[in-house]
Symmetry: C2
Subunit: 223 residues, 2 copies
DNA sequence: CCTACCGATCGGTAGG
DNA sequence: CCTACCGATCGGTAGG
């Protein structure tokens, strides 16, 4: 495997993109972008790290364990990350990024009931699809550095806000009982997210679970 | 502080209580029961350990950290436990024991709707009252030894069964939509238990939260 | 991406 | 309940 000129493990080096008016840099531009193969391998490392950290915890899942699961030596991981906590941060980044992207794609739904239903289905499927990613996200926050935490928290808040506002809209439209929207939003997030602790794909159906959650919040017309 | 003759850190030593027909043991009976003060101090250690493990995680919360939070030296903890994982097990024991006791006290309620409502209120208050105890219980299972795990799992299953059967009864009685009872039970457990991740006593009301959960499952009559 | 290695932390023990 | 201490693990580095 040929090392790219610069990867995430190298010095930050992400100078601001030259503004349109900036003078052209002299000479051959440095290879700032890591190669596609490199990024691909890093993605794989993150996936495996999430599995190891889920099974053993962040602290006791050693870099030797992660490397072994990848068929590498520990020192080779330092070619991809500068420190262990970078691995954790990458897991967290992937978790909120994918979650947030998908939720944002649902923001356009006008009808309050449809929007909240879609959010519930989304959250149920998201967590069930990637249990180890979210197990790390939910259970190993203590391992994050302060800086990583500071980066992630605003995104998390935005995420929760989508649920709070959808819950509030559903209340205003009379679809669910009036209560504190933040509380109810967290109840909804809890009932869906909790699945990483019990859901067994061999036994449970993702759709069945998602629909059960929707039906709990919006009970089908009763006789 | 005077050491009791034997504490949990000593050899198991819990010989079965002599059956009524067993011959009287000769001589002064050995002091098998740890003193009340000793047990009290151990309880305190468990409380503090739960806080330390919640804040830092089980692996990175060192025995030095736990001892310091108690105003002790690390080696002194070995007067109370034989190994670090005993501390974790004691936290888990306290969590399921109190949870199970309270749930069992609710089993007598006949009306399915009342019973499930009571279970929901119970779970909400339980977790909100003792967030660090349950944070450890929910997030640091990986630190348990296999034996501790084997001891705790059956109790946990019994606990879940209470919810599954109450959910099933509420479905049969037509109070909630028909679905897989196990799935719905876990949804209910999730929406209540999740509170250890977001509930802020300075901002949120425990009763308000509990009632919001009940209202989500049993919506008040709508106009 | 690997071999070899160092330093710090930490669970646990000795002995009082 | 404490002081002193040991051994193993593990994150991280040197150097190729």
């Amino acid at each position: 495997m040929t090392p790219p000129a610069a990867g995430p493990a190298a010095e930050p080096d992400d100078a601001p993109a030259p503004s349109p008016a900036a003078p052209r840099k002299r000479g051959r531009p440095r290879n700032l972008e890591p190669s596609a193969e490199y990024r691909q391998r890093l993605e794989n490392i993150v996936t495996v790290a999430a599995e190891v950290f889920t099974a053993q915890g962040y602290e006791s899942g050693s870099l030797d364990d992660v490397a072994a699961a990848l068929g590498l030596r520990k020192a080779s991981l330092y070619y991809y990350v500068k420190k262990k906590s970078d691995l954790l941060r990458l897991v967290f980044d992937r978790a909120i990024t994918t979650a947030l992207e998908q939720v944002e794609a649902l923001g356009h739904i006008e009808d309050p009931k449809d929007r909240l239903s879609a959010l519930i289905r989304h959250q149920a499927h998201l967590v069930v699809r990637d249990p180890s990613l979210f197990a790390v996200f939910f259970d190993h926050r203590a391992g994050l550095t302060d800086e990583a935490m500071a980066d992630i928290e605003p995104n998390e808040r935005r995420y929760v806000r989508h649920f709070v506002s959808a819950v509030g809209a559903a209340m205003d439209a009379g679809h669910i009982a009036k209560a504190d929207p933040r509380t109810v939003a967290h109840a909804v997030l809890g009932m869906t997210s909790w699945s990483y602790k019990w859901f067994d794909p061999a036994r449970d159906s993702a759709d069945g679970f998602a629909e059960a959650c929707v039906a709990l919040v919006f009970p089908p017309i009763r006789t």
